[in-house]
Symmetry: C2
Subunit: 351 residues, 2 copies
C-alpha cells in the first residue's frame, strides 16, 4: 500500500508493506553518505538491513528513551555529519520509534539548513502516527518538543514485519493513536480493533490511521488550524506523561497516556464505554491513578497553555471532532478531579 502526502514541492510517499525494509534501495537513492540514527532498543538486524543497502553508511545508536531527545544528542548527530563531511545532497535515515524519528529529523532539518530525511518507523506508535506529518523536535529544560522544526521527510517506509519483535505492551500503546484516528474520522478503524484480529490486519489499521492523519496534515501543514485535531488526548496525556517522568517512574508509555487523555474528551457516555472496552481488548489502561496536582502543574507549564485559554479536541460522536477553546481552569478542574469533564455532557473518566 502506498500513500502520497501532497504538500507541493515537499510531497512524499509513505510505503506500507511487509518486507519493504529490505527493498529500500528500490525506493530511494542510497548511493551517497547516509547517517543512520537508531536506538539501542531496536533489533540490530533492521539497522543492518538498511546499512547494507547504502553506499556510505554511518550509524549512530542513541540510548533508548525520551532522554535521547535532547539538544546535546542533536548536536552529536550534527557533529558526526560534519566530521564525515556530509554535503547538501546526503541523507539522514531514522530507524526506530518516535524518539529516533524526532531527533534524527530535527538534525536533518538543521544540517546545512536541511538535508534529505527518510523515516523508517519500527514501532506501532511511530508507524501509525509520529512518522508522518513533518514534526521534528527535541525536549529542552523539561519541556517536551519545545525546540524543533517542521521538516518533511522524502519518504516514509512502514514495514509491519518490524513489529514482530516489539514487546506486547509497547505494541498496544501505539494502538492508542489508531483509536484516536478512528474517533476523529474513521469508525472502521474502531471496528477493526474491537472485532477483528487486529494484529493480523495491522497493515490496514496503519493505512487507515495514516489516511486520517494525512488528510488533516495536508489541510494544515504547520498547525495553524485544524491540525490541532491530532492533539486529541494529548493535552491531558502529555500532562500525565510529564508528571510521571518528573517523579522518576516511567511507568506509563506515551500511547497509554494518550489513551487516558482521550477519555474526558468523549462527549457521549456510550462512546466512552465503548472506547474503554476497546482499551481492555488492546491491553491499554482504561483507568489509572495518578498524582493529580503534579499533572495539573505539568500542564500549566505545557506550551499549549497560553494566556489562560487552551484549545481542546472534543468528540461529540465517533468519527467527528470539534475544536474548543476553553479556559485552562476548566481542563485543570478535570485533572484535579473537581469537575466531571471538559465537555458538560460526559463524566470524567480518568479515575
Amino acid at each position: 500500500m502506498k500513500l502520497t502526502m501532497r504538500l507541493g514541492q515537499r510531497s512524499y510517499d509513505i510505503i506500507i508493506k511487509r518486507g519493504s525494509l529490505g527493498r529500500l534501495g528500490q525506493l530511494i537513492h542510497l548511493d551517497r553518505k547516509v547517517l543512520i540514527v537508531t536506538d539501542d532498543g531496536v533489533p540490530v538486524q533492521y539497522v543492518q538491513a538498511v546499512a547494507g543497502q547504502c553506499g556510505q553508511p554511518f550509524t549512530v545508536t542513541v540510548p533508548q528513551g525520551e532522554g535521547s531527545k535532547s539538544i546535546e544528542m542533536w548536536r552529536q548527530l550534527l557533529a558526526r555529519m560534519l566530521e564525515e563531511n556530509f554535503g547538501r545532497r546526503d541523507l539522514v535515515i531514522a530507524v526506530g520509534g518516535g524518539v529516533v524519528g524526532d531527533l534524527a529529523g530535527f538534525a536533518a532539518a538543521c544540517y546545512m539548513r536541511g538535508v534529505d530525511f527518510v523515516n523508517i518507523p519500527t514501532t506501532t506508535l511511530a508507524q501509525i502516527d509520529s512518522s508522518i506529518g513533518g514534526k521534528t523536535a527535541v525536549n529542552f529544560a523539561g519541556t517536551k518538543n519545545i525546540v524543533g522544526a517542521f521538516w518533511q521527510p522524502r519518504l516514509v517506509v512502514v514495514d509491519p514485519d518490524t513489529l514482530d519483535t516489539l514487546e506486547p505492551r509497547h505494541y498496544a500503546a501505539g494502538l492508542a493513536e489508531a483509536v484516536k484516528a478512528g474517533l476523529l474520522a474513521d469508525t472502521e478503524i474502531l471496528r477493526l480493533l474491537e472485532e477483528e484480529d487486529y494484529r493480523d490486519r495491522i497493515e490496514e489499521v496503519i493505512y487507515r490511521s495514516l489516511i486520517v492523519k494525512k488528510n488533516i496534515v495536508e489541510r494544515d501543514e504547520t498547525e495553524q488550524g485544524d491540525r490541532a485535531a491530532l492533539n486529541l488526548g494529548h493535552t491531558i496525556g502529555h500532562g500525565i506523561e510529564s508528571a510521571a517522568a518528573l517523579h522518576g517512574h516511567r511507568s506509563l508509555y506515551h500511547g497509554e497516556c494518550v489513551a487516558l487523555g482521550i477519555l474526558p474528551m468523549l462527549e457521549d457516555k456510550k462512546l466512552a464505554a465503548r472506547v474503554r472496552r476497546i482499551y481492555r481488548r488492546l491491553g491499554l489502561p482504561a483507568r489509572v491513578h495518578y498524582d493529580r496536582p503534579a499533572v495539573a502543574a505539568a500542564m500549566r507549564h505545557d506550551k499549549k497553555a497560553q494566556s489562560g485559554f487552551i484549545t481542546v479536541v472534543k468528540i461529540p460522536r465517533a468519527g467527528q471532532f470539534r475544536l474548543d477553546k476553553v479556559p485552562f481552569a476548566e481542563v485543570e478542574a478535570v485533572v484535579l478531579g473537581t469537575s466531571d469533564g471538559v465537555a458538560p455532557r460526559t463524566k470524567g473518566e480518568e479515575e
Copy 2:
C-alpha cells in the same frame, strides 16, 4: 520605500525608510511578548526605541562578533523564551547586524517549531543583503553557517538613519554586497557607487540591491538553483575569512572578503579594473596579501565543496551572471596563485 517578498503564505514586507525604527508599532503587532536580540556594539538608543514600543519586551544582548553565532548562544535565547513562558504567537526581533539576525532568526525558527521573527538590520551589510532571504544559521565546529534553517521573517525594517553611527570601514564593507548586486543584475547600482554621493543616496542603493536579491530569492527560495548566484564572491571570500579567523587576526571584515572574492570571477578585464576603482572609492580593499595554503584548506572544508566539484558564479559582463560547476582544483589553483583565474578570459585579481 517598500518591497514585498512574494513567497506564498510566507510573504513579507521590507520597509526601507529613514525613521521607521521609531514607528515599528504601526507596522507590526507589538502588544505581546517580544524577545529583542542585539549585540553590545549596537547603540543602545536603537534597542530602547524598539523596546519602548513593545508590550512585554525582554532584551538579550550578546557579545559583538561572529563568536556569538553559536549553538550555545542559540540555546540561551531558547532558554530565555522558555523561562519567560513565550507562546506560539509571541515574537523575536533582531536589532543589529548579520550575526544577530542569523542567531535570533534561527532561535525563532526552532522555538515551538517556529515563531514570528522581525529583522531590523542596523549595518550596511545587513540592510543591503543579509536581512532578507530567510537564511538563518549558527556556526559549529569551525564551519560557518553549517547549522540553521530557512525561516522567513514576518517583516524587515530598514532604517538608514541607523547607519549614521556605523564606523566608516564597517560602512564600506557592507557596500561590497551592493557591488555584488550591481554586477549580478543592476548596473545602475554600480553607477551610483562610482559617480554619486552614495551615502546621501544610500536608500536608493539599498532598495535597488534588495530588488536584485528579492528577484533571485523569489525564484528559488531554498537554493536549489539560481539562488546560488547570490554566492558571487563568497566561495573564495569565505575561505579568506575562515583562514584569517583561524589565525586569530580578524583583520578583514566579511564584506571585504567578499569584495576580494568577487574579483577572480570577473571575466572581463575592463570590468575588473572598473570594480577595483569602485572599491578604492568606497574604501574597500582591491588587493590584499593572505595565507594562500590556509585559504585553500579552509575552502576545502567549506560546505559547498562537495564531490570534487564546486559551483562558482561568474560575471561575463556587468549585470549578467553565469553559474559554472568547475573542478574544485581549478578554484584552488586560483587561490594558491598557480592559476590566473577560474574564468579563462581573466587574470586572477586576488594578489
